[in-house]
């Protein structure tokens, strides 16, 4: 169970992991900490990674007292000492961030689920085989 102070710590960490860009605040400023916590709680692997990463950072007050470079150093230390957990935590953070409609809008991506709309299948153009069709068979007989 992640307790409230960790939400502050997580929010601050998210802002360094995915910093502001364009008109968008950092991932923490987009209030994604709660979503990261909720998604992590549904899978013990993610929950464990979140717990380990937050546990490897300084206390919330100490982390928040650091400047940007200091927070990045603390994150790098956690990454170094808990590489697997940090990587899995990043996967969760990234996936949550890139599910957000405002992020899709900034990327210029349609942002919808792949189905049911799908995309348009282009026509088959047999002329693309013009060069390779001239090649003699070269499979090895047995």
């Amino acid at each position: 169970m992640v307790i409230k102070p960790d939400t502050y710590l997580l929010t601050a960490a998210l802002n360094r992991v995915i910093p502001p860009v364009g008109d968008l605040p950092g991932a923490g400023g987009m209030d994604l900490a709660e979503e990261v916590i909720k998604r992590s709680a549904a899978d013990f692997r993610f929950q464990d990674a979140l717990t380990r990463v937050l546990g490897a950072l300084p206390s919330p007050n100490d982390f928040l007292a650091l400047d940007d470079d200091g927070q990045d150093d603390a994150l790098r230390t956690a990454e170094s000492s808990h590489a697997d957990a940090f990587g899995l935590w990043l996967d969760v953070v990234y996936t949550v961030y890139y599910m957000h409609p405002e992020v899709h809008q900034r990327l210029g991506w349609h942002g919808r689920s792949p189905q049911p709309e799908g995309n348009v299948m282009p026509p088959w153009d047999g002329s693309v085989l013009g060069v390779i069709r001239k090649r003699d068979p070269f499979w090895r007989k047995a």
Binding site: D43, Y94, S113, E117, L129, A142
Partner: protein
């Protein structure tokens, strides 16, 4: 679709374990021939309209409840796999349709040389059958599953016209194909069990949604719950789902008599049958044979050779991705059914390794999966994050080799001493290491793949020396052969030890070839079914 047990006290002619690629094909073929068929499957029917590709959080589900990796998915019908001593993690799906639910449906065939590796290259073993022996069943399977493609490929023997025209390769496919052309190297549009037009019952043409690994909402991608199973059930086959077989039972003479299984409520049940067909693929099948040890079969069933679980082969997979200066919109179109190249398929001793590989072009997916990593390269966190993500997101294409992985007895499936599944049955343990030959093969592929991508215009190359979570193809652990001391089943899939036990899945592969194996697995299954139909009337009531 739901199924109920028909008179479970009867003795069926054929009991099949596993409702995936091969089990479905055997069920359809034998039920058509008038056999009384029952199949027991630990998973469930899928509703294509509930596949996660229609959900906004599909990218999250791809790494959790819809992961390709059973150790991550952890559904009750999955079994865990101990991979502590393996360089590759197996991936699979358990349900009606098996791993044809979560596959890319890329469907090339083995080459004639793949069946004669010992004769031609002096390593491994020859198969007891040839390409020509399998060809009629390849053709039949292409029609039942529905193959899009085009004949005339110079890297392969001539083959019949495909039932549907090829899946268009798109502008991105043309970029890579053009590079192969300029290098003077082979390429060809991929054969795919994906509809390029309407084909089969209730199955539309592909709508290029781009995420066909996670089940196909459009039902354009073939999976055996859509192809073989409706036929089999119409012909009277019985499919019991949510039921986990825990052992094959035998009589005092050592012949198979049926199976003991746990039903959907967890009750111990027994079904009797005149024959048993194993279709649980290269990990599930040896696991169950080993779980079925008894006084008559102390080393497990059909294991007088000691080779059950040995010679596990995956296909070595690694490769290269290219980042292009222009947008290629890689989320449009099938993930990996675009083009292939078999320029380096056959052995050339000058390359420093035996056998070869197929290049398979691949596309990207949504921004989340791109951020998590193209070719194993996670986008960095911090100040450079946005710049790197934007450079890769719309602009990345992959070229991965599927490399021949020669059999080695130390690569194996055994029963884990501690890990169990949700029913308390011992889980499989995988022991697997990458051979020197495979390493040299992958290194060659990375060099050549880099050359192709640069020729196509890529300005940045991302290299993955060897992917870990890529054990899609589970092969070799109950190999076929003429010699009972060197193989588990004969050329017809019949156990050397037990004449009413058959194996029809990837376990029977003698060598792995360098292509996706499902069409071969299904052709073998159909051939075995025809053998039973034509030669084993004694198994029919």
């Amino acid at each position: 679709m739901t199924t109920t047990e028909h008179n479970p006290d009867r003795t069926a002619d054929v009991l099949i374990v596993g409702a995936g690629a091969s089990g479905a094909a055997v069920a359809a073929s034998l039920s058509e021939a008038g056999f009384d068929v029952v199949c027991i499957e630990q998973g469930h029917w899928q509703d294509s309209f509930k596949y996660p590709t229609a959900d906004p959080d599909f990218e999250f589900k791809a790494m959790s409840s819809w992961s390709i990796n059973p150790n991550k998915r952890r559904l009750p019908e999955d079994y865990p796999v101990n991979v502590e001593d393996s360089a590759v993690e197996p991936v699979m799906f358990n349900g009606v349709g098996g791993s044809t639910i979560m596959w890319v449906a890329h469907t090339p065939r083995l080459h004639p040389s793949d069946f004669r590796v010992k004769s031609q290259d002096g390593v491994a073993d020859d198969w007891p059958i040839s390409y020509e022996d399998l060809e009629p069943w390849y053709d039949l399977n292409d029609h039942v599953m529905g193959c899009s493609g085009i004949s005339g490929d110079p890297a392969n023997p001539p083959r019949s016209e495909r039932p549907m025209p090829p899946i268009p390769i798109g502008r991105d496919g043309e970029m890579i194909a053009g590079a192969f052309d300029r290098l003077g190297w082979h390429w060809w549009p991929s054969d795919a069990y994906i509809n390029s037009t309407r084909y089969g019952q209730g199955r539309d043409a592909c709508n290029f949604c781009g995420h066909n690994m996670m089940g196909c909402y459009q039902r354009a991608k073939a999976s055996t719950d859509l192809t073989y199973w409706p036929r089999a059930i119409d012909q009277g086959a019985e499919l019991v789902t949510g039921a986990r077989v825990r052992e094959i039972t035998t009589d005092s003479a050592g012949r198979a008599t049926g199976v003991n299984y746990l039903d959907a409520e967890g009750n111990d049940r027994h079904r009797t049958a005149r024959s048993v067909v194993m279709a649980a693929n290269g990990i599930g099948t040896p696991r169950l044979l080993l779980l079925s040890d008894s006084k008559n079969h102390p080393a497990g069933l059909s294991n007088s050779s000691g080779l059950v679980g040995k010679n596990l082969m995956f296909h070595m997979f690694g490769g290269t991705s290219g980042v292009f200066p222009e947008h290629v919109e890689p989320w449009v179109g099938p993930v990996a059914n675009i083009i292939l190249s078999q320029e380096f398929y056959e052995t050339d001793p000058d390359r420093g390794f035996l056998r070869g590989y197929t290049f398979q072009m691949s596309r990207g997916q949504g921004p989340g999966s791109i951020a998590r990593g193209v070719a194993g390269h996670r986008v960095p966190w911090g100040e450079n994050h946005h710049a790197v993500l934007e450079r890769r997101f719309r602009n990345t294409l992959g070229l991965g080799p599927i490399g021949d992985d020669l059999p080695e007895e130390h690569n194996s499936v055994t029963l884990d001493e501690r890990l169990t599944d949700s029913s308390g049955l011992p889980a499989p343990k995988i022991t697997y290491r990458v051979s020197d030959n495979s390493r040299a093969l992958l290194d060659h592929a990375i060099t050549q793949g880099t050359k192709v991508l640069k020729e196509a215009g890529a300005t940045e190359i991302l290299v993955n020396p060897q992917s870990r979570e890529t054990g899609w193809h589970l092969l070799g652990t109950a190999r076929m052969g003429d010699d009972p001391e060197r193989s588990v089943v004969d050329k017809n899939g019949q156990s050397h030890d037990i004449d009413n036990l058959f194996i029809v899945d990837g376990s029977v592969f003698v060598t792995g070839g360098a292509v996706n194996p499902t069409p071969t697995i299904q052709a073998i299954a159909l051939r075995t079914a025809d053998y039973i139909t034509n030669n084993r009337g004694d198994l029919k009531a």
